[in-house]
């Protein structure tokens, strides 16, 4: 099964389009970490995913609210942003552990801020700026993550 998926995204529209493609293979219960510096396009990717899942409203940055919940067609999606965390213990204090369950899809920006307290990711998504474009790499860490990337290859 596929463990790795890489792609070059020339612009923001391509990031959104890739998010829409990724949405088709995401299943409830999956946990994705989104890595990339400020302005890399993590929230843009999430916007593409949510759009494809039928969310018509805004997709605001969760930096200040820490988590934005969405109920979309076939799952509960939680968009976390731990940018403002300084102590991993805040993960427990915030009660975020309860959000991770078989019915929910969790997308976590700045996961390193909660370190090992955060449930391990099925897929690591790394976004790196390359001029105006972005280089995106998905790495599967679990069987369901691998299955997801396998399906992505055939979308």
């Amino acid at each position: 099964m596929a463990q790795d998926f890489t792609l070059t995204l020339p612009d923001e529209a391509a990031t959104l389009a890739f998010g829409e493609k990724l949405a088709r293979v995401l299943e409830p219960g999956l946990n994705l970490y989104l890595h990339g510096d400020l302005g890399a396009g993590k929230t843009t990717l999430v916007r593409g995913i949510l759009r494809a899942l039928g969310h018509a409203g805004k997709v605001k940055s969760p930096t200040y609210t820490l988590v934005e919940p969405y109920t979309v067609s076939r799952l509960n999606l939680y968009h976390f942003d731990l940018y403002r965390f300084i102590d991993p213990e805040e993960w427990d204090a915030a009660g975020f552990r309860d959000y991770f369950n078989p019915q929910s899809l969790c997308l976590v920006e700045w996961p390193e801020k909660a370190q090992e307290l955060l449930p391990a990711p099925d897929i690591d998504v790394r976004i790196q700026p390359m001029g105006q474009g972005r280089h995106i790499r998905l790495i599967a860490n679990t069987d369901s993550g691998k299955q997801c990337l396998e399906n992505l290859n055939s979308v």
């Binding site: 400020l38 929230t43 940055s61 200040y64 204090a93």
Partner: protein, 339 residues
């Protein structure tokens, strides 16, 4: 009627006493900004712990300042949301416990309603209706305000708030938190036209905002400068960034006035303290024969006075509380109703 106001939604603990006949009697603030500065943002757990330490000494302080005692208070207003839940719970529990022991009514205030009404604490306040721009680290909204509790959302950010864009741009430039004052200081050394940033959503015909792309454009500029990113280059970026944000905010405010046919604008929230934004809004409203109102600088950011005031406005209409309470970390302003 004498109202004690308690604000603890984020990183400031604010207490104030507002009298419906005499106006604002006293207010005090403890800011956690220094504590948070080294982390470049607000830390929820730290915020709650600090509110616990500060709330009661500040309460005693505002009472002493006004020459009042706990027995003089007629009601307690507290920020019920939106905000960080741990921080909100501190203010809420203190308010409800104090009110229970003194047998006083309480009222949970929407934090943004507090900001929205803050300019009414000043001399010559605008009469309803007016257009309000709420612009801070967590929000960028244009509202039509017809009465207390009658708020119609005209425009909102589709992604990042303007203040968040300031904070993240400051971080990209290696500046301190909060980003607004740091960017403004540096911008004064910048050269106009030295670099270019987009004006997101400027001419898209609606009143919505988007600042996420602007942050990305700053990242691209920083990468382009590479090793040449010296102090002057940073100042040039800060200048251009501030111009971009304030131009978009100003033009959308003017469009909101035009669309609603109103001639009064109020501006509140932390970004409302930005001098360049005020300069632009002053000029633009003057050209169109409109009026703009701001809260004093210290009431642009979170404070207890605005909560005491909003609570007093609502409590003048009968309000019964059973001292059961809940916080509302996420709460849409448009859900509010007139008292």
């Amino acid at each position: 009627m004498l109202i004690l106001g308690i604000e603890s939604s984020c990183d400031e603990t604010g207490l104030a006493l507002y009298d419906t006949k005499q106006g604002l009697l006293s207010h005090a603030l403890h800011s956690q900004i220094e504590m948070h500065a080294e982390y470049g943002g607000v830390v929820p757990e730290l915020a709650s712990r600090d509110h616990i330490r500060r709330a009661l000494p500040l309460t005693r302080h505002v009472l002493n300042q006004a020459g009042k005692t706990l027995q003089d208070i007629d009601g307690i207003a507290y920020t019920q949301g939106p905000g960080l839940s741990g921080a909100l719970l501190v203010g809420t529990s203190i308010a409800e416990a104090l009110a229970f022991s003194l047998n006083l009514p309480t009222i949970g205030v929407h934090h943004l309603e507090g900001h929205l009404l803050a300019p009414l604490l000043e001399a010559n306040p605008p009469a309803f209706p007016f257009v309000a721009l709420l612009v801070s680290g967590g929000h960028t909204q244009l509202m039509r305000v017809s009465a207390i509790g009658d708020y119609e959302l005209l425009g909102d950010t589709l992604d990042d708030a303007a203040g968040e864009a300031f904070d993240k741009t400051a971080k990209l430039l290696g500046l301190s938190y909060p980003g607004g004052p740091a960017i403004s200081r540096l911008a004064s050394q910048g050269t106009a036209g030295a670099c270019q940033l987009p004006r997101p959503m400027l001419n898209n015909g609606d009143l919505n905002f988007s600042f996420s792309g602007l942050k990305t454009a700053v990242l691209t500029l920083v990468n382009q400068y590479g090793n040449q990113l010296d102090e002057q280059a940073k100042a040039d970026i800060a200048y251009e960034f501030q111009e971009a944000v304030t131009e978009v905010l100003t033009k959308k405010c003017m469009a909101a006035l035009r669309n609603t046919g109103l001639d009064q604008l109020i501006v509140s929230g932390g970004v409302g303290a930005n001098a360049r934004l005020r300069e632009r809004l002053d000029a633009a409203t003057k050209r169109r024969h409109c009026h703009v109102h701001y809260p004093r600088l210290e009431f642009c950011t979170d404070n207890g006075a605005m909560i005491a005031f909003a609570g007093a406005m609502r409590m003048q209409h009968a309000h019964i509380s059973d001292h059961g309470f809940t916080v509302r970390p996420r709460w849409d302003l448009a859900e509010l109703q007139t008292p």
